[in-house]
Symmetry: C2
Subunit: 390 residues, 2 copies
């Protein structure tokens, strides 16, 4: 078992009647608020009005950065940082899904640098310990950004999509009202659900050092919740229980509770980031296409028992098979979940992606060496997996 | 599903090689350290030397409060507060089990009051938002105090044992090295294990509003870990995996991860605190005697399915029985765990307790009205349950 440090100081207000606490939480940091949001869906569903009214009524001053992209660009974060520096912003309020919160993290980190440029921080892999405080109002269960220390920022000039991490990037407070995700399109619900699922799976014990079995059990609990509630949320977008389970699963998947003693992995995420960097596809969809192929590729005598266990505990496949047979059954069940239950297209070809950039994507995903995990992946392995996705 | 707030800023260093981080964490608060510990077992196992050497080597000034009792007294906490006020202590370092950490919390809270007396804070039920910072080095998996906002302080003059709570009482940092619990006597290991188990069970869904099923699953995961690893730790005191699982289960049971959306209950804890207040028995043992009787007492059509589920998921009893039969099987399995596996005496009579004080204990446990829970308990109910324990 590995030593670990657990520390997640983020505070979450969860539920229907919590947004009234927003002004008090903002005012702990000051009166000048930069509101960061995306394409305007929060204007349609009334959340923009709710939030801005609370800000104005409580004597705060409001600035805005709107139009954050689904894969947020470093240029947008820089725009936000410029506002922060010019207007001496005290606190950043991100209202939206993971992309919006990630962009706010980029803004928060860049705003305290000399030149206000986020890209050197991203590409330099600097661990961010100073940033403006962030408060998040979550509208989409997916990335876990509302309670984690990470953001993913894209540079479309260089086809790079890279993580920016740091303790200072954990939102000080997150508001999670499942009702705010009622208006989410079915496709986004499906993609978000698989993003959550994969966050857990990427850290799930498949081979190598064992971890706490209670953590394994908890990881399975969160994956099971996704498998159970995602299709319900897709069919009944205003089912509170379903939305609540997905939202809390999103936070639990990455708030490090499920990391205790585990070997951190991110194989599928590393491979997918290349896809969405090159093709701007929805992250969760890319993950759904990659994950079953990755499991098939790493299936061997060592990983088979754990993949089978995943099938039994999460998808309810039958016990008593050989490990290899069981593992194949688990991968089939996972594929069925992705491509039938969630209704996602199953190949990169269907998303208009061919093998043109596979070689450079694979090299970049491995950052020159390998992606570590239950089976370390070389650039050649990654390219093979991409080809399995065609 | 209930709204909830999740916030646990406590940092945990878990594992074999973490204590070297202690000086840096202490120095964040200052150089004057009050070391709080119990009866001297930390002198026998070398932890006292390790810790004091680290403090001296790093230029800090050390003061001591030793001799903390198993059920820590308000008078001891007051002694500590006096040292803090006189010596202008910056940070309190608790090295020991739950009692030591609880006492340190009492010291921390009293030290910032005008008269340095903890009892008015305890009896007044004040939520503590100001206190000296606490750092804990844990030696016993049991109370969860290392990562929660609570302390239990006893006043032997008035036979009262009452909780003191507050956000300021969460240890800023806890060091959890499973090896520090290797020297724990078998009986303490058993009592600690059942304390953990009951912390989870007291919040487990037995009736009333449903919660996230993923939280139920996680609660079961922690209870299963206790059931699996406690007997191993008792037989093999130096089994790292066993000690690690119990230690992390202790923290997980009360760090509020398992509370999300649940109805908070503390029926068994409320009943047991009276026992240890009157008779100074070991808390976990009292809980083990009470819990199966409590479950038997509250067993009805509404609670039976959940009690049966507990039996299936945690103790592996067979499925397919009627709810009532299954629930009885679950309670039998729990009793077997307490009185055979953990080897604890099964009646209050065997601990030398008779019904002399049951009436006043029951009234005090209900603080005048009822203990809320899956079935609300009146003083008469509590007295009945105590009688079942004879």
């Amino acid at each position: 078992m590995n030593d670990f440090i657990f520390h997640n100081p983020g505070k979450v207000y969860f539920g229907r009647n919590q947004i009234e606490n927003l002004p008090n939480e903002l005012l702990k940091f000051g009166k000048k608020v930069l509101l960061v949001y995306g394409g305007g869906s929060i204007k349609k569903n009334g959340l923009y009005d709710t939030v801005t009214e609370l800000i104005h009524k409580n004597g705060m001053e409001l600035f805005e950065l709107s139009g954050v992209e689904p894969n947020p660009r470093h240029t947008t974060a820089n725009k936000g940082a410029e506002i922060c520096k010019k207007e001496k912003i005290d606190v950043i309020l991100a209202v939206g899904g993971g992309s919006t919160i990630d962009c706010a993290k980029g803004v928060a980190a860049a705003a305290v640098t000399y030149d206000g440029d986020v890209w050197p921080l991203v590409s330099g892999g600097k661990w961010i310990t100073e940033a403006l405080p962030i408060i998040a109002v979550l509208t989409n269960a997916a990335t876990g950004s509302e309670m984690d220390a990470w953001a993913v920022i894209s540079n479309m000039d260089t086809n790079e999509k890279i993580g920016l991490g740091g303790s200072a990037l954990i939102p000080k407070v997150a508001f999670e009202n499942p009702e705010y995700s009622y208006t989410l399109p079915t496709y986004q619900t499906a993609c978000g659900a698989f993003d959550i699922f994969n966050h857990v799976l990427d850290n799930y014990y498949l081979a190598g050092d064992a971890t706490f079995d209670m953590i394994l059990d908890m990881q399975e609990a969160v994956m099971r919740a996704v498998v159970k509630w995602a299709p319900i949320a897709m069919k009944e977008p205003e089912n509170y229980e379903a939305r609540a389970n997905l939202m809390w699963a999103s936070s639990m998947a990455l708030n490090t509770v499920l990391d205790a003693g585990t070997v951190h992995g991110c194989a599928c995420h590393a491979m997918e980031h290349e896809l969405s960097a090159y093709y701007d596809i929805t992250h969760g969809h890319g993950l759904a296409i990659i994950t079953p192929r990755w499991l098939t590729y790493i299936l061997n005598d060592e990983t088979a028992p754990a993949i089978y266990r995943l099938g039994v505990k999460v998808f309810g496949i039958k016990e008593g098979l050989s490990d290899k047979e069981g593992a194949k059954g688990a991968i089939d069940a996972l594929s069925k979940f992705c491509f039938e239950t969630l209704g996602l297209k199953s190949t990169l070809t269907e998303l208009g992606i061919n093998d043109e950039h596979f070689k450079s994507m694979a090299e970049h995903a491995c950052t020159g060496s390998v992606i570590t995990g239950p089976k370390d992946l070389t650039p050649e392995d990654v390219e093979n997996i991409y080809r399995m996705c065609l």
